[in-house]
């Protein structure tokens, strides 16, 4: 009795009719899969824009003026990685050792971005290790850090205004 009640409706009428129903359902599933894949790819892709556009947008975002733009040495010191392999990059950070705010964007090929992404993860882990025990606000900001990979771009932001910096970045590449 239980077994009969639990049979899916598609099961009734085995034979050619059932096979046709199954085939229709599977074609519908495939169509849904293709639409889903297009949406996922679209969400992860990025317009190819001049990096200067991204630099201007982020520099103009609220809160960035209080951070210092870093040169290559400063980047390397902070991230323990070189941005040289990238086509374009920027980084802003705070001079105050208690302020974890920083924002980075880079454009490059997959290998360069993979290395930078690993550097970002290491940076976050190191910062968390420093602030976990006594910096509640800093810990929360670090745990809420934004790390995004879109097309040929990598973006990283930590700070009270990280959401606004992220929006500024995404607006450039959508």
């Amino acid at each position: 009795m239980t077994e009969r009640r639990r049979r899916a409706p598609l099961r009734r009428g085995a034979g050619a009719g059932a096979q046709r129903r199954y085939t229709v359902v599977k074609w519908a599933l495939l169509a849904a899969l293709i639409a889903y894949a297009v949406l996922v790819v679209g969400a992860n892709s990025a317009r190819n824009v001049d990096f200067a556009v991204i630099r201007s947008a982020i520099a103009a975002a609220p809160g960035v003026s209080g951070l210092k733009p870093l040169d290559e040495n400063g980047f390397q010191e902070r991230m323990d990685a070189s941005p040289a392999p990238c086509e374009g990059w920027l980084m802003f950070g705070s001079d105050d050792i208690m302020d974890v705010s920083e924002v980075m964007a880079a454009k490059g090929n997959a290998a360069a971005l993979d290395d930078l992404e690993s550097a970002v993860q290491r940076r976050l882990e190191a910062q968390l290790a420093v602030f976990r025990s006594y910096g509640v606000n800093q810990k929360d900001l670090l745990e809420g850090a934004t790390v995004l990979r879109r097309g040929d771009y990598l973006f990283y932001a930590v700070g009270e205004s990280a959401d606004q910096w992220t929006d500024a970045f995404l607006a450039c590449i959508r």
Partner: protein, 461 residues
């Protein structure tokens, strides 16, 4: 959500176990399904859709195979379904790898969408493939209940890191299961043991391995220490996760097969692969190796079969050429053992055979852990003194002194002795065993609260 996180251990798991226990039997699969979707959506909300597609696609395929009368029709249904499963896996896991390879080799500019890897896609896809192939072969009947089938595919204990569970092994338990309080206790013990392996051993060994890998130059002994630390890290990481999966399954009333059998005690590479990630090697044996003819063919064809299986095994582990090389490395070792060195190994004293196997496996892990070939070559060179900073150095002595207890205890845990002692303790002095497990859980919790380093190596699959 990872198993070794505070919100999983102290919020998700107790809530789900309680809800499952209190739910009427006919609703338990629904509770488990809802929990599993919540678990997956916590870290991967976008890719829940992909997993639901896999559920729907393979559910309908199973019914379609069950209803098909002609063998040719069944073959066509299976071929189409397998192709779609592999296409989904191929696109979401391997597209970037393929595109970057073609761009590099042929100078093309194909777009790389940098799709994040859907967690667990290799595991649930292989689980679904095993189901539809078994239905095709007639070794299992199609599951008519969509909720029951979805529960099988999405079950959170083994969704993201295995073991790969065959449908036939848990079909009866999907219909009807019960976990007595004793079984819940046993399951919880297993969860705590797995968590301890992951948090107390693997994470700390990982720190040692990473510190060695980060050094620009190593002495020979430092390189071997780093490689050994990684070998131990990946074992405790992965087997710890499998222990937790098996333990949680037990708490829910499921009985999953063991996935590890003390692999570092193997006397040969063949033996190692009968003890490491048993569910994966079993999957490839049943669904690739044996259908290709296995070893019941001529020598040439057998060698090709082994090469094919291990090429695929390597690829399964990651979308990168080092994994292909790792798979082929093992193919060569297994072929040599089968046709040349096997008899010699069998006559060696156990300690010698185990040491040789450990050395080969450790070298394999160096290949496995380095996606960059120049880093890999550099590290392999250090192991044999090429480009190394001497045979031993201060780094080695410092690392050994600082981690001696950890390494010694980890080596002890690679054998069955400690587990057998714990089982005897649980049987004879349950109160003391309870205190021991409570202490382990407290230690793991303290570590998770304090520490920030909590990677899980097998999440990339």
């Amino acid at each position: 959500m990872v198993f070794s996180s505070l919100h999983f251990l102290y919020i998700f798991l107790p809530v789900v176990m309680l809800a499952h226990r209190l739910a009427p039997r006919r609703l338990r699969n629904g509770v488990l399904l809802a929990a599993s979707l919540w678990f997956y959506a916590w870290g991967e909300p976008v890719y829940v859709g992909l997993m639901l597609f896999s559920v729907a696609w393979n559910y309908v395929t199973g019914l379609q195979l069950g209803a098909a009368a002609r063998p040719s029709r069944k073959r066509a249904i299976l071929a189409g379904a397998v192709a779609v499963n592999l296409a989904v896996l191929g696109f979401f896991k391997y597209y970037g790898f393929l595109v970057n390879t073609l761009n590099g080799a042929l100078g093309l500019h194909l777009p790389d969408y940098n799709l994040p890897l859907p967690i667990g896609i290799s595991f649930y896809t292989f689980q679904a493939l095993s189901y539809i192939i078994d239905v095709y072969r007639g070794t299992t009947k199609p599951q008519h209940g969509l909720v029951d089938f979805a529960t099988y595919i999405t079950m959170f204990p083994q969704l993201v890191a295995g073991p790969i569970v065959k449908y036939a092994d848990i079909e009866a338990q999907l219909r009807k299961r019960h976990a007595s309080l004793a079984q819940v206790g046993q399951g919880l013990e297993r969860v705590i043991l797995g968590l301890s392996k992951k948090v107390l051993l693997a994470n700390n060994l990982g720190l040692l391995a990473d510190s060695m890998r980060a050094a620009p130059r190593l002495s020979v002994l430092s390189a071997w220490l780093g490689a050994a630390a990684y070998a131990l890290q990946i074992y405790f990481d992965f087997s710890g996760y499998s222990d937790m999966a098996i333990g949680m399954g037990r708490m829910l009333g499921f009985s999953f097969a063991e996935n590890f059998d003390y692999p570092y005690r193997a006397r040969s590479v063949t033996g190692f692969w009968r003890r490491w990630h048993i569910s994966l090697s079993g999957w490839f044996r049943d669904y690739v190796y044996i259908p290709l003819g296995g070893n019941r063919v001529g020598v040439g064809r057998h060698i090709l079969n082994l090469l094919a299986v291990w090429l695929l095994t390597g690829l399964w582990h990651g979308a990168s050429w080092n994994f292909v090389l790792w798979g082929l490395y093992y193919a060569v070792l297994l072929i040599l053992e089968k046709y040349l060195t096997g008899r010699v190994l069998a006559k060696l004293p156990a300690a010698v055979a185990r040491t040789l196997t450990l050395i080969l496996v450790t070298v394999g892990w160096v290949i496995f852990s380095n996606t960059d070939f120049s880093d890999m070559g550099r590290y392999l060179g250090f192991l044999v003194g090429i480009g190394a900073g001497g045979f031993a150095d201060g780094t080695f002595l410092y690392a050994l002194r600082s981690n001696a207890l950890l390494i010694a205890f980890a080596a002890l845990c690679c054998g069955p002795g400690l587990r057998q002692w714990q089982l005897r303790l649980t049987g004879r002095l349950p109160a003391l065993a309870l205190v021991l497990f409570a202490a382990l859980l407290a230690a793991c919790t303290a570590y998770l609260v304090h520490g920030s380093y909590n990677p899980f190596l097998y999440f990339r699959f």
